[in-house]
Subunit: 331 residues, 2 copies
């Protein structure tokens, strides 16, 4: 009989997560209650936001309790349904957790249309990260043709999607990434106008060179030094869109943007993107992104890791920047 | 024959300004060129922004050159005019500098209507600080009746004006200040709903108590810890208006707001106020503020210091927080 393999959060990390913050256990496969479905999970998404979920209620979503299954977006196939809107055999995604089976109320799941793209895309460019890129850029950044969009953490799934949408909207896209290979990917596959290797290049000099008229939209995934350098080069009327701060999540104290007064002198605004606020419009974004992908106007990349027992190394790819594209754990 | 007494910037401060960064000298009273007027200055305004002007081009306005008259807003009487729009005997204000006489092109000066209020008001509540308060709150903060407006540095000329406009607009006004006397002033004379002595009280506990539904508008004059505590208590949809960061101007490195991600989770926005952007609408604001003052709906307070030789102690009142109201040097 099948067992449910689960990744439990057993202690809260201080700074970088350690292997012993998690434990792999086995439990009976749960039975769905009325209104619920049972999902055999095929892919688990690794997301930077997980670091916040490991804390005790410091974010806008409550923290994962100790001994609980680690919270995670995941996708899989329904093997038993006790709700009329979802059938056995349907593919679904949702906050199913880092485990191999999960039951969940049907209304908390999204049914996936695999004709729009393979399953992993539904955790990436057609899932939360894609939605975050789409609404963050279009609704918060409000790009105008000819503007310069500067994206930190650009080789990640959100950053690479933001840059490609920016290009489609007639903007220039400039991104930072942590290796020459990632920079080549941005330039050659994603069509960015400029890519800066922040580990080996003089980021400020390169921003000056690549954004001679300043940055109109700063889409920030990283915080810290790169955010500050971007702020120092805002154009008049710039929009700063804060999506994440991955450079700071494992620091003992968050560092604030020292150059925040540059937003004032640039007559700029700073806002953020919380993707759930656009839930009702996900179908529009999924349809649009999938069309761009099919047309070849957009590319996306998945960094697969095999086996639920590799949850920890897969997670750490994010925080060490060694991932290349959307990190997905295949189970 | 009259001499022009001038405060020259002779060296650039590191951190807090020192007396020897300035020198009082005497020079012949200048003669106005065609299109200029000669003003006998009666009052010099001391403003937090002066600290930025002492640096070499770190702000959006170029720094004062060494050996130049220290930049300052000032007001006085025209004693000679070579321009048709300003007559001898008119009162004017502008960036006349920290000196006793100045020539300036007429178009760079504002003619003052002393029927609206005494001369010192034209450097305070009816001058740049009042305009900054008025447009910063109304155009950037966009207050709605019933909202909570949190003002740091509230006993200063900008903060006290912001709070009183907020009250007139039907908001709750909560402010921080550095002494019990200032807090009493906010509560008793300015009609604030709450005042927090940040030097003696637990600011976070008091914010929680005084802003139980969170902060809808955070009007920040100080930066640093108080900004962070305010950010931690933003209400959904909050507007953060950055006006200044006086706690940071004399620090070797600016500290950024560690809690900036709270703007994201609150679905808030951060913008700034640059008063010059509203230049065309100053008359509207002056008329409105002067009416409120005449009606007794608003109060303002001037902290006079006598004698141009006391420029330095007058300036330091601002950076040590020992001023009480708008600091004006009478010459």
């Amino acid at each position: 009989m099948a067992e449910n393999k689960r990744i439990l959060l057993v202690s809260r990390p201080m700074g970088m997560p350690k292997p012993d913050n998690f434990r792999l256990d086995e439990a009976p496969v749960p039975a769905p209650a009325e209104g619920e479905v049972l999902v055999r999970i095929e892919m688990i998404s690794l997301d930077p936001a997980m670091r916040g979920w490991m804390n005790e209620g410091t974010t806008y979503i409550r923290g994962v309790a100790l001994g609980e299954v680690m919270r995670a977006f995941a996708a899989g196939r329904v093997i038993q349904s006790r709700h009329s809107t979802i059938a056995e055999g349907d593919y679904v995604s949702g906050l199913l957790g880092a485990q191999t089976y999960a039951t969940m109320p049907a209304h908390q799941l999204s049914r996936l249309d695999l004709s729009l793209g393979p399953l992993e895309w539904h955790l990436g460019i057609l899932g939360m990260p894609g939605m975050t890129a789409y609404f963050g850029l279009l609704e918060r950044g409000k790009p105008q043709p000819g503007e310069t969009v500067f994206i930190s953490g650009a080789a990640g799934i959100i950053g690479s999607t933001v840059g490609q949408i920016a290009k489609i909207k007639g903007c220039r896209a400039i991104g930072t990434a942590g290796s020459d290979e990632k920079c080549r990917y941005l330039l050659q596959e994603c069509g960015f106008d400029g890519a800066i290797n922040y580990k080996t290049e003089d980021v400020e000099a390169r921003i000056r060179e690549l954004c001679p008229k300043g940055i109109d939209i700063l889409y920030d995934n990283v915080g810290g030094d790169i955010l500050d350098l971007g702020l120092a080069h805002l154009a008049r009327g710039a929009r700063v869109v804060i999506c994440g701060a991955i450079s700071q999540y494992n620091e003992p104290t968050m560092r604030g943007p020292r150059n925040y007064m540059k937003i004032v002198t640039a007559r700029g605004t700073l806002t953020g993107i919380i993707v759930f606020d656009f839930q009702e419009r996900y179908p529009e974004a999924v349809a649009q992104l999938s069309q761009w992908l099919k047309n070849g106007q957009m590319h996306t990349r998945t960094d697969f890791v095999d086996g639920i027992e590799n949850f920890y190394p897969a997670l750490m790819k994010l925080y060490t920047g060694t991932n290349f594209g959307k990190v997905v754990l295949k189970v």
